[in-house]
Symmetry: C2
Subunit: 68 residues, 2 copies
Amino acid sequence: MLKNKVKELRARHSYSQIHLAALTGVTRQTIGFIEKGEFSPSVTLALKLSQHLQVTVDELFWLEEEKN
Amino acid sequence: MLKNKVKELRARHSYSQIHLAALTGVTRQTIGFIEKGEFSPSVTLALKLSQHLQVTVDELFWLEEEKN
DNA sequence: ACATTATGTTATGTTTACCTTACATTTTAA
DNA sequence: TTAAAATGTAAGGTAAACATAACATAATGT
């Protein structure tokens, strides 16, 4: 399953969901869903998020084993 | 716009579209569409592709300026 | 030359990312 | 303490990712 540290890095930058959403061109709900791990964003959005959070996509998102 | 070097790296590994598709759990048409740049895959698929092509997501995919 | 495998491409269908709206709750700041 | 800002969440809609199927052409091997 897909994991990420968007919430953690967003906090580190003191960005609100609204601000990060504006920076990346999506709504704050989309940011919220991604932080909750409710869906897998497009690689385009992943790239934009990683740029604004100043990490690589591979640092921001990774795949983990399913635990049943 | 989103660019990638899936086709180039797939060739370097001598993988057919069918083989890479099987490795990543999608159809060969999906691989074909991605190589043509016709859509932006999910970051989950991007991660799987990058693992099998042995590069990072950031090396495989990047954003470029629109020309007009 | 022929068979096989790989690729290009198009059409139709399903699933899911993402949007809009809305309201409730939590957190922050005056 | 009260208003404002931020967050959680849910319903319903649209668009795009991805599937399936089909057929044509190109490339590869015998």
